[in-house]
Amino acid sequence: MAAVTIKDVWKYYGKTLAVKELNLEIKKNEFMCLLGPSGCGKSTTLRMLAGLEFISSGDIHFDDVRVNDLPPRERDIAMVFENYALYPHKTVFENLANPLKLRKMSRSEIVERVRRAAEMLEISELLNRKPGELSGGQKQRTAIGRAIVREPKVFLFDEPIAHLDAKLRSHMRGELKHLQRRLETTTVYVTHDQLEGMSMADRIAVMHEGVLQQLGTPSEIYNHPANEFVAGFVGEPPMNFLDVRLERSNEGLSVVHPAFQLTLTDAQRHLLENGNAESDTRIGIRPDNLLIESGDGGSLDIAGSIFVTEPLGGDMLIEANLDAETRVMVKTKIREMGGPGDPCRIGFDIEKLHVFNKETGVAYF
């Protein structure tokens, strides 16, 4: 159990930049998620923590110890790999015992620890099997077991549940989170699935093209994205983005789009004025924060037409045209919405609106 400090870390592969000036402090016992699309540098960062990649420049500390030059075995970490990386010629028991054996633990201690870990992960009855005889979920539990037997300072997870089927994945999300709380071990978890980050992590670090985009709790990341990338990457279905103009009117500051006009709140106006926002901006609104009514007689502001509806059981996703060029995604509780081409009315939950700088993508709010 250690705090992890990543300070000014850069990583180059030859001339290719993989991680750029990364600064990250992971607190003791924290569940930190590195989130980003593939190639964003999150796995590279994890591998630098593990000691599997050299650090081009910068420092990584575990508590007060600088670990830059320590080989993996001296870092006291445990890692779960994307493809499980189990030893095919060893039984589940031997797989779990391997890290203990390499640390010269006594036989009785090894047996006891493996027994405890296997019980925790409910794989006790599989101990004599070999990885070839296990299902994906069982392999994954074995890989996690190999990580937890040793009670290391830091857990490193590299997309550990990416290859499981959807149902098992959602089950393992809960289990992993529970396990981490119970073991109270600092954890760094790499994933490209924003759902995993949102549901498990204490804090999320969103990365893109080697650069840390935003660091915050899941709710901060979701409700106050720092820029357009984070806003678009987190949340399913993704946020709607629309190019608009800011215009002053008698009521205050308005967002003007060919299809509609919205008056911003006073608080929002202040934020935009303090940020010296230019008049050409981009707004973002999550599908959950759009309101929709069928027919054209409703009370909502904007008239549109339905492009397609996707019922999901409890919810329904509706893609609606505001005008010839503008289409938005709306998420609503299921109800009869009519079919493609039918008229509808759409409204904005103005409090949940996000405004971004069109050039830099940085969020004003």
Partner: protein, 327 residues
């Protein structure tokens, strides 16, 4: 509908005419048994050729081993039963031939495998890998006979470079390399090692490329160092490749006598007379073809037996599992 499956286009058309919306149509040709005979006919030429070059000599070998083969024209072979085999039991040269063969083969194999794996590990991922592999392959391309001559000259007691080297360093006190009972064996082993280590290195190199990177990394995270990593992860993954390499080399050692015949002819004082060279002497110097056939037969039998044992010992642990052998 689904009354019966249509086998001909006509039947299919009949079904459509009846108003079938989907057609179960399986052309008869695919159901016909004769397809199997057809394949047999295709393979027959190859089978005949194979039988001609391997089965016929094999049975002829057994025939010869049971007869006293007569070379003079017109005389017919004399049936002697298992006499040729029984005589081998009291043949001291036969026993010492086996012993020398095992010694030679064990020396060659252990040095070649050790060195080959070492070379492969060093070559793997080195910057000069491609260039060096090409260079390393050259000895392998050489005809064994040429290699034999090359080394005979290198060992030569007048102008041989190795001879000069060993004499200068002082390890070889008197006589020549190939003329010394102790040195001759190492000299022929060295030739074999020089020529065939590259093959083992090449096969191992191919194996090294297949070692799963994530297992190596997991093992490092588990707490292993480089050497430990090699022993517990790399080596088990190399098993199937090493098996092939060792099998190939072991069988070659039991068969190839070109270099030894050229360099020492089995001498000095039978120090390098491995069984195949003795077999050569008996059959083609003394022309006792029956006795030679008996020796050849024991050689064949033991080669097959040892091959099977090797396969069993080196069986890929992962594959053993898949075939349901392990628990």
């Amino acid at each position: 509908m689904a009354a019966d499956i249509a086998h001909t286009p006509d039947e299919a058309r009949r079904d459509i005419a009846r108003g079938a919306r989907t057609i179960d149509y399986t052309p008869n040709a695919f159901n016909h048994q004769p397809a199997r005979y057809y394949l047999l006919w295709l393979m027959l030429p190859a089978i005949i050729v194979l039988a001609g070059i391997s089965l016929y000599p094999f049975f002829w070998l057994i025939y010869m081993s049971l007869h006293e083969v007569q070379l003079a024209p017109g005389k017919s072979d004399i049936w002697v039963g298992v006499d040729n085999f029984l005589r081998l039991f009291s043949d001291k040269k036969f026993a010492s031939g086996w012993l020398t063969l095992f010694k030679y083969s064990a020396l060659c194999l252990s040095i070649e495998v050790g060195l080959g794996v070492l070379v492969a590990v060093i070559l793997n991922n080195s910057r000069l890998e491609k260039v060096l592999v090409t260079i390393f392959l050259m000895p392998m391309m050489m005809a064994p006979m040429v290699a034999g001559f090359l080394y005979m000259f290198l060992y030569n007691g007048t102008f041989g470079w190795y001879f000069w080297l060993l004499r200068s360093v002082g390890v070889l006190e008197g006589g020549t390399i190939l003329g010394d009972r102790g040195w001759a064996m190492f000299a022929v082993v060295a030739t074999d090692v020089w020529q065939w280590t590259p093959l083992i290195a090449l096969i191992t190199l191919a194996g090294l490329k297949r070692v799963p990177q994530d297992q190596l990394e997991a093992h490092m995270v588990d707490g292993a160092g480089e050497i430990r990593n090699f022993i517990s992860v790399t080596l088990p993954n190399l098993y199937p490749f090493l098996l092939i390499a060792i099998l190939l080399r072991f069988m070659d050692n039991f068969r190839f006598i070109d270099t030894i015949l050229i360099m020492t002819g089995g001498g000095p004082a039978n120090a390098t007379k491995i069984l195949p060279t003795y077999l050569f002497d008996v059959s083609f110097k003394f022309f006792e073809l029956g006795r030679g056939a008996a020796i050849a037969f024991t050689l064949l039998l033991l080669t097959i037996l040892l091959g099977l044992v090797l396969t069993k010992v080196f069986e890929d642990p992962a594959r053993k599992l898949k075939t349901g052998g392990g628990g």
